[in-house]
């Protein structure tokens, strides 16, 4: 029987309380926006299946409670995650400062090759901005991840963020599959790893870049 999807990716949303993790997820999974969401206690998740290069990818996205106290609970879910979206609120300096703490958490609890992405949410509220786009980008480069400013309210960059992350994970997964394949494929795989640049196409460039930083 045909499977409903080719890949299942588990993603995780983390970030301070109130930065809009649930809104981002709700926008992506249900294409709806609600200004007054009920606060997330513990953990919750949503599903959306997307299509990338002819492959069906089921995204299982976990939404976590933002309060620091809940980290002891939520970190248990880091391990299974293949991609993590670190969300801050561009109108809150504090939420941006916390990103470093969240990264430390990832380093402690998540698997080493997890894909990460920095999300500056609420970019529709430019008049109340406290964190410039450049600062976000600088931080992202420092940790070797992509960054994006989004607005769940206006549906800006939400799709883009999840699709980009999914594409990176897919590229990495397929690369690993190729590596594990016996024979010439495997040689090709290792070859690409040592030679670094030549075999990469546009789509997986960033992921390739990321691989380098991890290695």
């Amino acid at each position: 029987m045909a499977k409903a999807y080719d890949y299942l990716f588990k993603l995780l949303l983390i970030g301070d309380s109130g930065v809009g993790k649930t809104c981002v997820l709700f926008r992506f999974a249900e294409d709806q926006y609600n200004a007054t969401f009920i606060s997330t206690i513990g953990i919750d998740f949503k599903i959306r299946t997307i299509e990338l290069d002819g492959k069906k990818i089921k995204l299982q996205i976990w939404d976590t409670a933002g309060q620091e106290r809940f980290r002891t609970i939520t970190t248990a879910y880091y391990r299974g995650a293949m991609g993590i979206l670190l969300v801050y609120d561009i109108t809150s300096e504090k939420s941006f400062d916390s990103i470093r703490n969240w990264i430390r958490n990832i380093e402690e609890h998540a698997s080493a090759d997890v894909e990460r992405m920095l999300i500056g949410n609420k970019c529709d509220m430019n008049d109340r901005r406290q964190v410039s786009k450049e600062r976000g980008e600088k931080l992202a480069i420092e940790y070797g991840m992509k960054c994006m400013e989004t607005s769940a309210k206006l549906n800006e960059n939400i799709e883009n963020a999840f699709f980009t992350l999914a594409r990176d994970i897919k590229a990495k997964t397929e690369k690993r599959l190729n590596q594990n394949r016996p024979g010439s494929n495997s040689q090709n795989g290792t070859g690409s790893n040592t030679k670094l640049k030549p075999k990469d196409n546009g789509g997986s460039k960033s992921s390739f870049f990321k691989m380098c930083t991890i290695l």
């Binding site: 109130g18 606060s39 513990g42 919750d44 998740f45 309060q67 248990a76």
Partner: protein, 658 residues
């Protein structure tokens, strides 16, 4: 034709209908007088009231009621036939809404024993609703007796559709319980089928829902039926002109009348007494109806109403259409009957529950609360408690049951409330002072969460009635217990407390509640302790519902995926408010053991559904339980859950396991 039989001269409503059919205004010009042959009723009822019927307070019924009122009105206004009563009987209206006798278009309702039927004095009636509750003859008498609801429904014959409703004796109950759902057959399903039929206008509007609790609409101006009739009456110039006639045609067609029928319907009028001391007073409202032969060939309906500019249908086509049409009517009738049965059942349960709650409230108020220390653990108290506390005393009993081990006073609340406010101001002044270690900084977080607490209720959002109170109580607690501070989840607990008591009491309750074992472990994020509870949950889960347990194991559904949300908020996030309230009631009786029993009860209740699901659906289902969950079903399911294994109690299991 037989005259209305007035068995005893108790409640007789004579309705003299003078009919003035007018092209423009079909019903609003007809005048109706009601004479009530009972002294105190004369005072109550005003001259311009036209009808006697009963009404439902439930939304789902208003639609059908609307239709029914039309039926009554129309049937009243017919001079020559008893089609109205016939119609009602054919609609399988139960309980029959009104007793109609056809001679002189009078409505007669009689009561066997009017002396028992006391409508109370007029003063009461000014504020309340008198309910004459008619019940169908097919009702189980015993069940009827349990119901003390009566409803007299009086409609003014104004063009403004207005309802005069009074309640003689429902003083103690809240507004919602004043009216008892009245069941009548709904024509709406017939409409919808009808509108599919080829000679019907496609855009038949559905009848509008009456606004407010009691709106008894006149037929002529707004209903979908009248537009249907309008269509049918197209032979004459104005749609409304002939509507009575066409209505009869329609109804005779719709409900395939027997040509002649003697109808005798019996209703019971029962008096609702707020004390429940009197046994239910049973009054027979009976009346014999007979109807004149109605000889309308079925074909008339179709022939008459086929627009003249269209060619006539072939015989075959006509036959086909008629068969189709009859099938539709048959189906509609069946559907209605089913719906009616269901509604009736629900309505009975509601009535029973109400009576129980009234009784229970009295006992709580007079026999338990004043003697709390002795009574709180008595068997009877526990039994009453299991069925949920009556809302008016809920807060009081919660306070008593939670107790005040911490010896907090109102003064301590005001002290910490002030402190929280100062703290917040300080934070505003010196923004972003990093004091992550000190959880008092979480005072800031409260602001964010207050408006995210039960957003659907609109109570706690900015400018909502409880916004400030919720903010203050949470702030006060964060300052009182600086070790814990504010933790997400607390806002839900406090919100529910605030719905039942004042801020100061809510603070005292919250502090004492969070001082209990399981909540303390949760809000301190004491993982070791929490895991211990989760482990015991798993043990009891396997013991009670082994099949589902192994399914969960297979699907890798860990208890923390749903238990964290349930326990942190004491089910307030995931259960409907009424069910949740009852869970809290019993939680205060049985303490933390009941939380886990409820959790297993929920799993047990949805066992079959969950067994069919995979990981994703299980977790999503459990974090958002069905809105229509019924507390009776849940508590039946909870009752099946055993919380001790081999005489080892829950508490022991929790401590034992360590």
């Amino acid at each position: 034709m037989s005259p209305p039989i007035v068995e005893s001269s108790s409640v007789t409503v004579v309705d003299n209908v003078s009919q003035q059919y007018d092209d423009d205004n079909f019903l609003s010009n007809s005048t109706f007088d009601v004479k009530i042959l009972k002294e105190n009723l004369d005072e109550i009822l005003e001259d311009d009231m036209i009808g006697l019927g009963s009404l439902s307070s439930t939304e789902s019924n208003t639609d059908s009621l609307n239709v029914n009122s039309e039926i009554i009105n129309r049937s009243e206004s017919r001079a020559d036939t008893g089609i109205g009563s016939d119609l009602l009987s054919n609609l399988s209206v139960s309980p029959s809404p009104i007793i109609i006798s056809e001679r002189n278009n009078s409505i007669s309702a009689t009561s066997d024993d009017m002396s028992d039927f006391d409508l109370g004095n007029t003063e009461d009636l000014n504020n309340n609703l008198t309910v004459v509750y008619p019940l169908s003859s097919g009702e189980d008498d015993e069940e009827n007796q349990n119901r003390r609801d009566t409803l007299i429904f009086i409609v003014r014959d104004d063009s403004e559709t207005e309802t005069e409703s009074k309640n003689s004796d429902l003083k103690t109950d809240d507004k919602n319980s004043k009216m008892i759902p009245y069941e009548c057959a709904s024509l709406s399903s017939v409409y919808s089928n009808y509108s599919q039929y080829d000679f019907f206008p496609r855009n038949v509007p559905s009848p509008p829902l009456p606004q407010g609790d009691l709106v008894f609409r006149k037929a002529e101006n707004q209903s979908g039926l009248s537009s249907l009739l309008g269509f049918f009456g197209s032979k004459k110039s104005t749609p409304q002109t002939n509507s009575t006639n066409t209505f009869d045609l329609l109804t005779s067609k719709l409900f395939s009348f027997n040509k002649s029928k003697n109808l005798s319907s019996r209703s019971e009028v029962q008096k609702r007494s707020d004390t429940n001391e009197n046994p239910s007073l049973k009054n027979g409202l009976s009346c014999n109806n007979s109807s004149q032969d109605l000889k309308v060939p079925d074909s008339v309906l179709i022939f008459e109403n086929r627009p003249s500019n269209l060619p006539a249908k072939s015989q075959q086509e006509e036959l086909k259409h008629r068969q189709e049409y009859e099938r539709m009517v048959e189906m509609a009738k069946k559907k209605e009957q089913k719906e009616n049965e269901l509604k009736l059942k629900r309505q009975h349960q509601l009535g029973k529950k109400e009576d129980f709650m009234t009784n229970s409230l009295k006992i709580w108020n007079t026999e338990i609360i004043p003697y709390w220390e002795e009574q709180c653990s008595s068997k009877r108290t526990h039994q009453l408690w299991w069925h949920g506390l009556p809302p008016p005393i809920r807060g009081k009993v919660w306070r008593l049951a939670i107790g005040n081990e911490l010896s907090l006073t109102n003064e301590s609340y005001y002290f910490y409330e002030r402190k929280a406010k100062q703290k917040l101001e300080l934070l505003k002044k010196y923004e972003s002072q990093d004091d992550d270690k000190n959880h008092e900084s979480s005072v800031e977080l409260i602001k964010l969460d207050v408006s995210r607490t039960f957003p659907q209720l609109c109570f706690f959002q900015k400018d909502g009635p409880f916004h400030d109170a919720l903010h203050n109580v949470l702030g006060a607690y964060a300052c009182y217990n600086t070790q814990i501070g504010y933790v997400q989840g607390m806002s839900f607990l406090t919100a529910i407390l605030l719905l039942n008591m004042e801020s100061n009491d809510a603070f005292i309750c919250l502090a004492n509640l969070l001082n209990t074992n399981v909540l303390m472990a949760c809000f301190r994020m004491d993982q070791a302790k929490m895991n211990r509870y989760f482990r015991v949950h798993q043990i009891l889960f396997e013991y009670n519902i082994p099949r589902l347990y192994s399914h969960f194991e297979e699907q890798n559904v860990k208890p923390d995926l749903y238990l964290i949300d349930w326990i942190f908020t004491l089910f307030s996030k995931s259960l409907p408010l009424d069910v949740m309230s009852r869970v809290w009631d019993v939680f205060f009786r049985d303490k933390e053991e009941f939380l886990f029993r409820t959790a297993l009860g929920i799993l047990n209740l949805y066992k079959e559904t969950l067994l069919e699901m995979d990981f994703i659906h299980i977790v999503q289902f459990l974090t958002k339980l069905p809105d229509n969950m019924n507390s009776t079903h849940l508590f039946k399911s909870i009752e099946q859950i055993v919380m001790s294994i081999d005489d080892i109690s829950f508490d022991k299991l929790v401590n034992f396991d360590s």
